[in-house]
């Protein structure tokens, strides 16, 4: 009979229409600015520079070796090495970046800078609410914008951050042991001469 199929179809849509008012699970829309889904742990967009402790200058891990600058495929990192040195997390004096800029309008979120950094000094961020009124300066992130605390990193990527922390702690311990050993050796070497 002509028209039966249409009635069946209309029954389906009517069920959806009425159901959407009574069954909460039908409305899967996330009302974005008010509610938001948690981001998956492996989500990434743009790099940031984690620092230890509370001082973004003293705790910054980056030593301005410029490896990331050279490796970055679209060449969106700009680093100027400092004149002086500051102690790194192991107390060893190191250069630090006087300028560290990333142009996130160019960055393609490839994470290569993170992979090549030998100092765990650059990591991928998850902050995606970056729309700006202006597309040049506002999208060029300076060192002060990029430096974020290690706690922040632990919060956004717990697994990776724990791994990195363990690695750094092991390295620091090894360095301390080596220092102690060499200090002992130095005392051993110097004492007979005395």
């Amino acid at each position: 009979m002509i028209g039966i199929g249409i009635l069946k179809g209309m029954a389906v849509t009517a069920r959806n229409f009425v159901g959407s008012y009574f069954e909460k699970e039908r409305l899967i829309t996330v009302q974005y600015p008010e509610e938001r889904n948690p981001l998956p742990e492996n989500y990434r967009n743009f790099p940031f520079l984690p620092y230890d402790g509370d001082d973004p200058h003293a705790g910054l891990r980056c030593v301005a070796c410029k490896i990331c600058e050279k490796e970055c495929p679209p060449q969106c990192i700009y680093i100027v090495k400092s004149e002086d040195k500051k102690p790194d997390y192991m107390g060893k004096p190191q250069f630090y970046p006087a300028v560290f800029d990333i142009d996130i309008s160019v960055c393609m979120s490839c994470q290569i800078c993170v992979e090549v950094c030998p100092f765990e000094a650059i990591k991928m961020d998850k902050d995606f609410e970056l729309s700006r009124r202006e597309r040049f300066d506002a999208l060029l992130l300076r060192k002060s914008d990029l430096a974020k605390s290690n706690e922040y990193y632990q919060r956004i990527c717990p697994t990776d951050a724990a791994e990195v922390d363990a690695k750094l702690a092991a390295a620091a311990e090894a360095a301390a042991k080596k220092k102690a050993v060499s200090a002992a050796a130095a005392t051993a070497a110097t004492s007979p001469a005395r």
């Binding site: 009979m1 002509i2 849509t13 409305l27």
Partner: protein
């Protein structure tokens, strides 16, 4: 009390006109017409704004979404935002368009849609313009839309516009026939082309319970459905929106329109929809009559707009349900099903009349319609042959 609320708009108008006592007759007449026109425009433009947002909300709910809910409470100010957007958009006229025709088309289509509103009785004594041949006027004005659509398509000097206009003309002319023929039984039974007389004829209750609306007779119900479907086609609504098939021909005849002119087309489409549903309510659903004696205390215009909204809801519901039909399907449906059924309605109405307008007439007309409907269903089904599908691949 309820009488005065029922007539509140009439009294308001009388009061406004009482300022003019002593003026020559024609001044009063012009003033009265102007009041009618402004009220009509105000009411229906508001309804248009409301409908545009409610439609999106209902469609959203049908698809288990929220629909617009950001601008204002529950997104009710969305039409304001849309309106501002439309107004401040650039109005582009193609360089090689026929400028005058291109400019006139939206005006003509809106004018035709608004004119058609003028003859519908919105409540007791609330017909803006009483014309004896009101129904005839409605359809005469309504078919101007086709001219406007073709002007838009031709004037744009664009192949998509032209294709859209051709499609629109083809389907509108095909469905004008069943649309008008389904009105015939009502006109026959009432014996008048005056919308007020048609509403008056549906007054009262059969057996003291069922209102004497024409939709409760077999011929009336059939004619109502056919009228409704033809109305869908006339207002280019899904599933008959081939003239604006976005996936095929951009926006059909509206392709080359932007900004406020586009909004005018949009508005005309909705106002045409209100007009045709209003007429459907008038012809078949008893106009402004209330469905039950106990509910007669509600003002007549409330009933009219309740019926109008119910029909509009079905329009939206259909749009949320059905996919777009093909051009050939629309044509086949018009000529092979709608037209024979429309003629059957005329015959069934005659049978109903001569069998005494009572239960006997009711049954006899039902028999007539059932026979033709079954025959058509079987016939059209049997004609449908599916050839084995062959696939050809690029080599």
């Amino acid at each position: 009390m309820s009488k005065s609320i029922d007539q509140i708009f009439i009294s308001a108008k009388q009061w406004l006109l009482s300022w003019l006592t002593g003026a020559p007759d024609w001044v009063i007449q012009v003033a009265s017409s102007l009041i009618n026109i402004f009220t009509l425009l105000a009411v229906f433009l508001t309804l248009f704004a409301l409908m545009s947002v409610l439609e999106r909300k209902i469609l959203g709910r049908i698809q288990n979404r929220y629909g617009p809910n950001r601008v204002g409470p529950f997104g009710l100010l969305q039409p304001v935002a849309d309106g501002i957007k439309m107004l401040i958009k650039e109005d582009i006229v193609p360089a090689r368009a026929d400028k005058i025709v291109h400019f006139l088309a939206p005006i003509l289509i809106a004018a035709a849609a608004v004119l058609a509103l003028g003859v519908i009785p919105y409540g007791r004594n609330m017909t803006p313009f009483t014309i004896d041949g009101g129904i005839l006027f409605f359809f005469a004005v309504g078919s101007t839309t086709e001219l406007a659509v073709f002007m838009a398509g031709w004037g744009s000097n664009n192949k998509f516009s032209m294709l859209g206009a051709m499609r629109a003309i083809a389907q509108m002319i095909s469905y004008e026939l069943p649309l008008i023929i389904t009105v015939l039984p009502v006109v026959m039974v009432v014996g008048s082309l005056n919308p007020d007389a048609i509403v008056a004829a549906q007054n009262g209750y059969a057996l003291g319970l069922v209102p004497r609306w024409f939709v409760f007779t077999p011929w009336g119900a059939t004619a109502f459905i056919l009228f409704f479907v033809s109305g869908l086609v006339e207002s280019n609504r899904t599933p008959f929106d081939v003239p604006e098939g976005e996936s095929e021909i951009v926006a059909g005849h509206m392709t080359e329109y932007s900004g406020f002119k586009y909004a005018t087309f949009f508005m005309a489409e909705y106002i045409g929809m209100f007009a045709i549903t209003g007429l459907a309510a008038t012809l078949f659903l008893g106009g402004w009559h209330s469905p039950m004696r106990a509910l007669e205390f509600l003002p007549s215009y409330v009933w009219f707009f309740a019926k109008l909204s119910a029909l509009l809801f079905v329009y939206i519901w259909l749009r949320g349900t059905l996919p777009r039909t093909r051009v050939d399907q629309i044509m086949n449906f018009a000529w092979k099903f709608m037209l024979p059924m429309a003629f059957t309605c005329v015959i069934a109405a005659a049978v109903w009349h001569y069998a005494g307008r009572g239960l006997r007439g009711w049954l006899w007309s039902l028999v007539v319609i059932a026979i033709v409907y079954t025959a058509l269903s079987i016939l059209l089904d049997a004609r449908r042959k599916f050839a084995p599908r062959t696939y050809r691949f690029a080599e």
